[in-house]
Homo-oligomer: 220 residues x 2
């Protein structure tokens, strides 16, 4: 199909498609003449993947390019792909108080080893957990890595269900889409449900935890 048809069939504006081709995250069409190129289903699929990463994942073009480079490398396993998708989604590591973080990483790794999970200390998620520990302690909360326990079971059940949803196919493009989309979209789903559940639980308890009468604010 022509590029104008590709635009109509995906709902992505023509200038945006051309921009993605220049940025080398969408392969160019097959040249038919000096002014025309031909686009196929693989372009439709790639555009859908890019738009999802932009709209739901709120990812930069640089992050998307990093994910797609892995997606297109046949020597990289689906498991490794998941790691790359996570890396692109993880917030930039802020390196405040390096000593404290380094020690907290050791604590988190110790906790993970007790679970019997094999995880590299360099995994972004490990750094996020260490950062959370350091932050909570800085706020005066006396927490150990045991504070993570309730999250482990919940996350493990969710992950098991999610991986069950991966298409039972050996088609790499299908698997890739499943892994990347699953990581990005279902993360927002989990976060949204936690918020709804917090609001529901909080509402049920409001009467109990609300200070009797309206006490004056304590700020200066």
């Amino acid at each position: 199909m022509k590029i104008s048809e590709l635009s109509r069939c995906t709902g992505v504006a023509l200038p945006t498609i051309k921009y993605y081709i220049r940025a080398e995250i969408l392969p160019p069409g097959v040249r038919r003449s000096a002014t025309q190129a031909d686009y196929g289903p693989e372009h439709v699929r790639r555009l859908r993947l890019i738009r999802t990463l932009v709209e739901i994942g709120d990812l930069s073009l640089a992050s998307i390019a990093r994910i797609l480079a892995v997606v297109d490398d046949p020597s990289i396993s689906v498991h490794e792909m998941l790691g790359v998708a996570h890396g692109a989604l993880a917030p930039e590591a802020t390196s405040h108080d390096d000593d404290g973080i380094e020690q907290a990483v050791q604590e988190v790794m110790g906790f993970i080893e007790q679970l019997g999970w094999r995880v590299e200390a360099s995994t972004p998620a490990v750094h996020q957990l260490a950062h959370a520990l350091v932050t909570l302690r800085g706020l005066g909360w006396e927490v150990t890595s045991e504070v993570f326990a309730p999250y482990v079971d919940a996350a493990d059940r969710i992950a098991e269900w999610e991986l069950d949803q991966l298409p039972a196919t050996s088609d790499r493009a299908d698997l890739v889409e499943g892994v990347v989309i699953g990581t990005v979209v279902f993360e927002t789903v989990l976060v949204a449900w936690r918020r709804l559940a917090e609001q529901r639980q909080s509402e049920a308890r409001t009467a109990a935890i609300r200070p009797s009468g309206s006490s004056p604010p304590t700020s200066a």
Copy 2:
């Protein structure tokens, strides 16, 4: 204490403190003379809260100001405060395909009603879930709101545990800190554990789902 002591005791640089005062998210100290003002424990606490929102929540000053305005309003309940914290954390609503979203919101609300949860359709989390449904369908996944079922139980258990952690106090400042910090920090904790669990489950299955031999990439 003097502003220089406030800086030392919180680790926040002097120009940053002055910036927060000008931005009216940190109350000014009590004037002692033309050049000196006095700062107390409430300033230390407020600075800790602001730094957590900046560092972990990655929030803009505008979002922080919105949260703090609610925190400082004694007529607003702790439950409402949670809603505001969630609103500030939620991504900007992208309004692509308004019709589809509107219908998906109805579906999500129907699912939530079946759960017996009381939730407003205007809640940002409801919009996020509707957006996820529309995105998945746009990608050709045939999903109904039943796809959310595994997340509901996990999220509800997590939320129950989290609210149990709120300090058993009627001191409003303590509660506020518990609610806001809990929302921001433990969201990153849950997301990090989901990623670790996905990696662990994926690794265990890699042999099974990896295409036999390395099939060539399907992209053009």
